[in-house]
């Protein structure tokens, strides 16, 4: 008789990483659906393309590193990175811009740092920020206008060929500044009510965008319900953004109103899907609250006083920098200790 020799515990009941990632994908689908309904086929095409490029890049690097390709691809993390990137890029982003983003996300931001679990920065946001800085025109002028505003919405084939050709003249007819962009640039010369007359704001907060944000919020709540993520980061993120808006930008004739901040950009997507990436986020409960709040504050600062109308990527990346620091100073108090042991071990010890 020979028995298995193993160290305890012998029982385990974990949701494997692949399944966690699958839930993230599922929870993002309502948002993708809303994007497709209100802004056409662009996001769907972007998602498929980015997922494909991301997984191919992942496979290539893993092969180069001499590791089992199937084992690592099966964890679904590359697919999630591709998905998040596809969801955040403008609808008519030329294919090579999205490919650059996806490749740099996987190869540079993830694999060069050691692969899954070792990347200090959110890979999708590194890819996004990189192309936003490198291709500012393609990344700001390619946002589709809501389908309701254009009787002659480009169909799947037209969208695909526009993305594949990247012909700006064709694309220009279907695009429109995003509500955050519109408000930011018009409010200097117009009153709030004048700015809001623009069709992009629609009847509610921001035509289409409010539904997209609502769908990501619903998906995010599903993730919290499934315990894939905890409430700490999204709640502190949104609370900090709301606080900043109410404290510093309550005058709608000068600053974008809170409703626009919450429902017009990538806010909900960022709060529930981007900031909650566990690898690049803070870990302890207290740390998560600080991390989320930091992102919320930075988003407001960049949107209001910076050059970019939306700022999720930069805010997340900046707080990624702070994560090791936050983690060192926010450990929980261990049972039987009076205080948490903050900081790093002293040099004098040992």
């Amino acid at each position: 008789m020979s028995f298995v020799q193993q160290s305890s515990p012998h029982a385990r009941q974990a949701r494997p990483t692949s399944q966690v990632m699958l839930w993230v994908i599922i929870a993002a689908l309502p948002g993708l659906l809303a994007q497709t309904l209100f802004f056409g086929w662009g996001n769907l095409i972007n998602v498929v393309w980015c997922v494909g490029v991301a997984m191919a890049s992942e496979a290539a690097v893993i092969k180069l590193r001499g590791k089992p390709v199937a084992f690592f691809l099966k964890d679904n993390t590359a697919a999630v990175t591709g998905l998040l990137l596809g969801l955040s890029l403008p609808q008519f982003t030329p294919w090579w811009v999205s490919a650059t983003a996806a490749i740099s996300a996987i190869v540079v931001a993830k694999q060069l740092y050691g692969g899954l679990g070792s990347n200090p920065f959110n890979p999708a946001m590194v890819g996004y920020a990189l192309v936003l800085i490198s291709f500012p025109v393609a990344m700001t002028t390619n946002w589709a206008q809501p389908v309701m505003l254009w009787g002659d919405t480009p169909g799947f084939g037209e969208t695909l060929s526009a993305i594949a050709s990247g012909q700006q003249t064709v694309i220009d007819g279907w695009t429109m500044a995003t509500p955050l962009d519109e408000y930011k640039h018009k409010i200097a010369s117009f009153t709030s009510s004048e700015v809001l007359e623009h069709p992009t704001f629609g009847e509610g907060v921001a035509l289409g965008w409010e539904w997209v944000n609502g769908a990501f919020l619903a998906g995010g709540l599903l993730l919290i319900g499934l315990r894939v993520i905890t409430w700490h980061i999204p709640v502190s993120f949104l609370a900090a953004l709301a606080f900043m808006s109410l404290a510093f930008g309550s005058n709608a004739d000068e600053y974008a109103p809170l409703s626009l901040h919450l429902l017009a950009g990538a806010t909900m997507f960022g709060a529930f899907f981007i900031a909650t990436d566990p690898v690049s986020a803070a870990t302890s409960r207290q740390g998560k609250l600080i991390y989320g709040a930091g992102i919320g504050v930075l988003i407001y600062i960049i949107r209001t006083w910076g050059n970019y109308p939306d700022a999720v990527a930069f805010a997340v990346l900046l707080m990624n920098f702070a994560v090791p620091f936050i983690d060192h100073y926010t450990p929980p108090r261990t049972y039987g200790h009076h205080k948490p042991r903050r900081g790093v071990p002293g040099r004098s010890r040992g």
């Binding site: 008789m1 020979s2 028995f3 298995v4 020799q5 193993q6 160290s7 305890s8 515990p9 012998h10 029982a11 385990r12 009941q13 974990a14 949701r15 494997p16 990483t17 399944q19 966690v20 084992f71 964890d75 993390t77 692969g115 899954l116 679990g117 070792s118 905890t230 566990p278 690898v279 986020a281 870990t283 302890s284 983690d327 450990p331 929980p332 108090r333 261990t334 049972y335 039987g336 200790h337 042991r341 790093v344 071990p345 010890r349 040992g350």
Partner: protein
């Protein structure tokens, strides 16, 4: 209803307890051989009191601990001592240890017993002595000698005595079945402990998933002061620290013991053993063991003699060796695997799981940590398992210690929930082991360094003393030399210094040179007939001596200046040396002037010739 405090984290693993509670406790009976290890728990191993071939009666002492922490070991039945040898014992490493092998004679004949009717008539120390003599060590975990635990340090008053019937580990039902069937013994044992400790509060804590045990205990405590606490089922509520928190809201200080906060936990089985020891004079020769898992046909609990081979119990439970893939001693969360069933039941063995591969599957390969934080949510000690893992893996043990690695109770909750299938507890054990090794090596190194430094210091001191003596001798010699020279060569100023040995030496050399030169010159003057007389010092030598004396004086003056500016304590000495040198320079000048005069006279006389 008593107030409970919830501990953070924890998990709800599948209980799998119903399989082994379907049948009452069975008597395992007498196996062919009993192998009784001499060390069954922490403390010192016991010393054998019997020889091979001896006949012993049930309850006779086989071995005793004479010094240090430990309790005796008794013969589980009557029979012949067959061997005293190294045998495999239950241990994660599968190691061997000294055991007494007893062949039962089938009589199961007791030694003479002296039950105590009224222990209250005895001194407390006498009762503690009886508990020790009965070989009782904790039946729950590490097996700490019960008599020692029942006498906490004098300054620690135990105000709450807890009997731990939580039994939170899946599969194990030994305490559950004991509570169902031996509630009266449990209460009797607890009363003895309470009489010894005089606590203000006595609690029996049971998880709410054991209704039969709760009912049974509830009946038994009627008319006593003992409190029954039915606590919510959550692993690891039966962990000593967690149970104390649940019942009192207090935390055992890190590195401390429960008595530090006036609490003591005892195991259900230990209470029964205490009652048996006092009221029946029955030492700890048997215990209740759960045999369960899908690998056995009739899972259940057995009352097994200490030393009974686990294989014997598995057979009685209907082991299907083909299907059994893994043997776990203890529970599925904290137990360890056995490589063979040929190890004996010891005082701390509470459960054996014969698991099939479907039941406790081999975990999938380890994946990278994605920092999801599930482990931190599950940790009942509020540690950061993920950071501990990083540091343990990277060998950064100092950082792991900083994050309270040693507060980890190895409950396994973190590994249980890890989506990346990382054997976290194994990493922590490794890190703890490494740190312990490093600490002991550090201690050794410190001792060695201290010894080395002491030796170095001694050698230095000896060298210094030797040097000092040598200098003194040299100085004395130089002084003597200088005196001699001064007497011998009064006309020629001596260039030797009496301040140090080097100067003395240099002076000697100088004199020797001067003599040689004078001699040589005398020779040449003899040959040429035109040289000064050999006894008169020549001008050249005198000039040289003057220059040397002046240089020395300058040197001395510099030294004196420096010493003054530093306020050194050799100022006086230097002052004397300077004045001495000044005299010397003067003398040299006079000598030179005189010599020049003489020469002038000679030259004149020569030219006159």
């Amino acid at each position: 209803m008593t107030q409970f405090w919830e501990f953070p984290g924890g998990i709800h693993p599948a209980e799998n307890k119903h399989q082994s509670t379907q049948r009452p406790i069975r008597q395992a009976g007498l196996p062919d051989q009993l192998v009784v290890p001499l060390q069954q728990h922490i403390g010192e191993p016991a010393q054998v009191l019997v020889k091979v071939g001896d006949r012993v009666q049930k309850g006779d002492k086989l071995a005793e601990v004479t010094s240090g922490l430990g309790v005796p070991v008794h013969a589980p039945t009557s029979g012949i001592i067959e061997a005293i040898s190294l045998q495999p014992v239950p241990h994660p490493s599968g190691m061997q240890d000294w055991c007494v092998t007893l062949r039962p004679d089938g009589e199961d004949e007791w030694r003479k017993r002296h039950p105590i009717k009224d222990y209250r008539a005895l001194e407390r120390d006498q009762v503690l002595g009886l508990i020790r003599e009965a070989g009782i060590s904790g039946l729950g975990g590490a097996g700490f000698p019960t008599n020692v635990k029942l006498r906490p340090p004098r300054d620690r008053k135990v105000s709450t005595l807890i009997l731990n019937g939580a039994e939170c580990e899946p599969y194990i039902t030994a305490d559950d079945m004991t509570m169902r069937e031996k509630a009266a013994d449990i209460v009797a044992g607890m009363k003895v402990m309470a009489w010894i400790l005089r606590p203000e509060r006595c609690v029996i804590a049971i998880e709410d998933n054991k209704p039969e045990a709760i009912e049974s205990i509830n009946r038994a405590i009627q008319g006593t002061q003992i409190e029954l606490a039915v606590i919510p089922t959550k692993y690891p509520s039966g962990g000593e620290k967690q149970l104390i928190h649940i019942l009192t809201g207090m935390e055992v200080p890190s590195g401390g013991i429960p008595a530090d906060i006036g609490v003591m936990c005892q195991n259900i089985g230990t209470a029964v053993a205490v009652a048996d020891a006092i009221f029946e004079d029955r030492p700890l020769v048997s215990r209740i063991v759960t045999i369960t898992g899908e690998g056995v046909a009739e899972p259940g609990n057995f009352e097994a003699l200490i030393g009974t081979p686990i294989s014997y119990l598995l057979e009685q439970a209907g082991l299907d060796a083909e299907r059994t893939n893994r043997l776990v001693l203890g529970g599925p969360m904290m137990g360890y695997t056995l490589s063979s069933a040929a190890v004996p039941v010891v005082k701390t063995s509470n459960c054996v799981i014969a698991a099939t591969s479907a039941e406790l599957p081999v975990p999938p390969p380890e994946q990278p940590c994605i920092r999801c934080g599930e482990c931190a949510l599950a940790c009942p000690m509020e540690l950061l398992p993920q950071q501990l893992f990083w540091h343990a893996k990277a060998g950064e043990f100092e950082k792991a210690e900083h994050l309270n690695l040693f507060d980890c109770i190895e409950c396994g909750a973190c590994s249980y929930v890890c989506p990346s299938s990382i054997p976290l507890v194994q990493y922590y054990r490794h890190a703890k082991g490494e740190i312990r090794v490093q600490r002991s090596e550090q201690e050794k190194a410190d001792r060695a360094r201290e010894r080395f430094e002491a030796r170095q210091e001694r050698l230095e001191r000896e060298k210094r003393e030797k040097e000092q003596r040598r200098k003194e001798r040299a100085k004395a010699a130089a002084e003597a030399q200088a005196k001699k020279k001064a007497q011998a060569e009064q006309s020629a100023p001596s260039a030797d210094g009496d301040t140090d040995e080097r100067a003395a030496k240099a002076a000697l050399v100088q004199q020797a040179l001067a003599r040689k030169k004078a001699k040589a010159e005398a020779n040449t003057s003899e040959a040429a007939h035109d040289k000064p007389a050999p006894d008169a010092p020549d001008i050249e030598t005198l000039e040289k001596q003057l220059a040397q004396a002046q240089a020395k004086l300058r040197n001395m003056e510099d030294m004196l200046k420096e010493a003054r500016s530093k306020e050194a304590d050799n100022v006086d000495k230097l002052q004397r040396a300077v004045s001495k040198n000044q005299d010397r320079v003067k003398r040299a000048e006079e000598a030179l002037a005189e010599a020049r005069q003489q020469q002038g006279g000679q030259t004149q006389s020569q030219s006159n010739e």
